[in-house]
């Protein structure tokens, strides 16, 4: 670690991991309710559990992105963070907002649009937090070296804040409501978040393989070009059946199919760079998460997205467990894994240790990933059956739910595996192994 202010990332990563645990416990509970529907039915109904599951996910990913930015921007810009004080204030404000939101959900205090359930004052707080953060990072970038990695990262983060503003617009016409709701949700996860992810992966590959920055950055521009050229109009695949014009079926089908390209390019590029780079970086666990992210993002976001994105297919699968299958592997492969990659990479530096418990961390990778892949397969099977029974044969939703119950049992079991993997990851990241040598806190390290 070369810069003092990179340490600002530490609490962000801790909070991210804490909320990650809360998120998967919420998920495990929701999955259990699928198997035992009477469980907690009155005390904590399913809709509340799900709000906590999805909101904790979003918030911890944001904590991770903020942490990643505070960690890598000083190194990229070769400048200390503009204001450590703002970074600290921003952290506590965000943590307070997140905790207040989750507590509020338990007491029935929330708004009612999916993923945007935060009460108005918390939405305002999120904007304030984002502005503090963007001011801080942008000032740092303006002072320092402007690399493509930092530029794309900051652009992604600005986009994130900008598109969140659509969360404040809630027209009474449901079709309009939905059209602009996607301006937050789609343009986040199939737009600007991909910029953030690509920038973090580029940073990790530069650091760990020792490959020429020029090559990585050129590819970074090519990849994020593919992302936005396809992803912006890929919006159309959400505009098939919500009251929007029929031409979206063509635009959405074509452009969202092409959304697979950047994910494919990331896989090809990441493996090429690692093969050519040849440097044997000591943090093998971080390398594993980096390559794993590329691969599972391709399958989760790319392949599983394509599976139901053509309008005639989506006509049948829209709003079934097929969507749930895609959602789970896409979020895990792309955004969970990129966060775990940067956390795995940065934590030894932040804690002033040698790359720590590699074996346990790598076990957590395989346990978590296989749990998620299996979960996706069970939900896919449930979704295909549901599509046939409900959409083709016209059997009612609740009867179909009983028919596909077996797959929800399997999904619940895979959820247990995932939770074990997550707990192991947190332990491996924060534990102190006997073999580790403490290498004085803030000293710059030679091996980078």
């Amino acid at each position: 670690m070369k810069y003092e202010t990179q340490k600002l990332a530490y609490p962000y990563f801790l909070a991210a991991m804490g909320l990650f645990v809360a998120q998967v416990l919420g998920g495990l509970l929701a999955g259990t309710v699928y198997i035992f529907p009477n469980l907690l039915a009155e005390a904590v109904p399913f809709n509340v559990i799900r709000m906590i599951h999805t909101n904790a996910l979003i918030v911890w990913l944001l904590f991770g992105f903020f942490g990643a930015a505070y960690y890598l921007v000083p190194e990229e810009t070769e400048t200390e963070i503009h204001s450590p004080l703002i970074a600290k204030l921003q952290f506590w404000l965000f943590l307070f907002g997140a905790a207040a939101a989750v507590l509020g959900y338990l007491f029935g205090i929330h708004e009612g649009r999916e993923f945007l359930e935060q009460p108005l004052w918390i939405k305002v707080a999120i904007v304030v937090v984002a502005l503090m953060f963007l001011f801080n990072i942008s000032m740092t970038l303006l002072k320092g070296r402007k690399t493509a990695v930092s530029l794309i990262l900051v652009m992604g983060l600005w986009g994130l804040a900008l598109f969140f503003l659509f969360a404040f617009y809630n027209p009474s016409n449901l079709a309009l409501d939905k059209m602009f709701w996607w301006y937050v949700v789609h343009l986040w996860v199939e737009g600007v978040w991909e910029l953030i992810m690509a920038a973090i992966l580029a940073f990790l590959l530069i650091k760990m393989t020792g490959i020429d920055r020029e090559i990585v950055e050129k590819w970074l521009y090519v990849i994020v070009s593919m992302t936005l050229f396809t992803g912006l109009l890929g919006m159309g695949h959400h505009y098939f059946w919500i009251g929007t014009p029929g031409y979206w079926q063509w635009i959405g089908s074509i452009f969202s199919t092409l959304e697979v390209l950047p994910f494919f390019a990331i896989v090809v590029f990441a493996f090429m760079v690692v093969r050519k780079g040849g440097r044997d970086h000591p943090n093998q666990a971080a390398m594993l998460w980096t390559l794993g992210c590329a691969v599972l993002a391709f399958f989760g976001a790319g392949v599983w997205g394509f599976m139901h994105t053509l309008a005639p297919i989506n006509y049948l699968t829209h709003g079934t467990q097929v969507t749930a299958a895609h959602g789970h592997l896409a979020f895990f492969g792309a955004y969970v894994m990129v966060n775990l990659a940067i956390i795995t990479y940065a934590m030894p530096h932040l804690r002033g240790m040698q790359p720590y418990n590699q074996v346990l961390n790598m076990w957590s990778f395989w346990i978590m990933s296989s749990g998620m892949v299996f979960m996706t397969l069970t939900l896919t099977a449930a979704g295909i059956l549901q599509t046939h029974l409900q959409r083709v044969m016209g059997i009612s939703f609740m009867e179909v739910a009983d028919e596909i119950g077996f797959f929800f049992i399997l999904r619940g079991l895979s959820g247990v595996v995932v939770v074990i993997g997550v707990l192991l990851f947190v332990y491996a990241t924060l534990s102190t192994d006997k073999a580790q040598v403490r290498v004085g806190g803030m000293k710059p390290q030679a091996a980078e």
């Binding site: 009155e42 399913f46 809709n47 708004e111 009474s172 050229f229 009251g243 006509y315």
Partner: protein, 150 residues
């Protein structure tokens, strides 16, 4: 694939292309806005009741179990066409009473069946909620869902 491409050329393509596609997206969004207001939704039919019904729908976070026009959680039935499922287009009064009775009678407490909680919704709000469902069912959705099961 990009041997002849320089970094600055790639950067220019990125910024130029992004602006290009963003402009198209915004233009199509503007057009779709007009289409929704003029063609696909009954704007005049958005009564205070429909508006209030949407607020009731949001206050109880119905979307985190149900779907509406296919979006939401996948734990409970689609409600975008619940009006049609209750036969509302043929017999409005029976459908209205049927939906209201169903909500009032929750939870079923049937063992092994997914449970809908009991919500504190008064008579007038229940009617507003039904107004909302009825209105949503008139949105022209390119004929989605494929059948009345939702």
């Amino acid at each position: 694939m990009s041997e002849g491409l320089t970094k600055s050329a790639a950067r220019n393509i990125f910024f130029g292309g992004t602006i290009f596609f963003l402009v198209i997206l915004v233009a199509l969004t503007v057009h779709s806005y007009g289409y929704i207001e003029k063609n696909s939704t009954d704007v005049a039919g958005i009564t205070p009741g429909v508006e209030q019904g949407k607020a009731v729908w949001e206050r109880h976070s119905c979307i985190n179990c149900h779907t509406i026009l296919g979006e939401g959680a996948y734990y409970a039935p689609e409600l975008g066409n619940v009006w049609a499922r209750y036969g509302g287009f043929e017999d409005a009064d029976t459908a209205r009473d049927g939906i209201k009775d169903w909500i009032r009678s929750q939870p079923t407490e049937v063992e092994g069946r997914r449970q809908m909680p009991h919500f504190e919704i008064n008579e007038q709000e229940l009617d507003a909620l039904v107004d909302f469902f009825k209105w949503v069912n008139t949105i022209k959705t390119q004929n989605w869902p494929p059948n009345v099961a939702g």
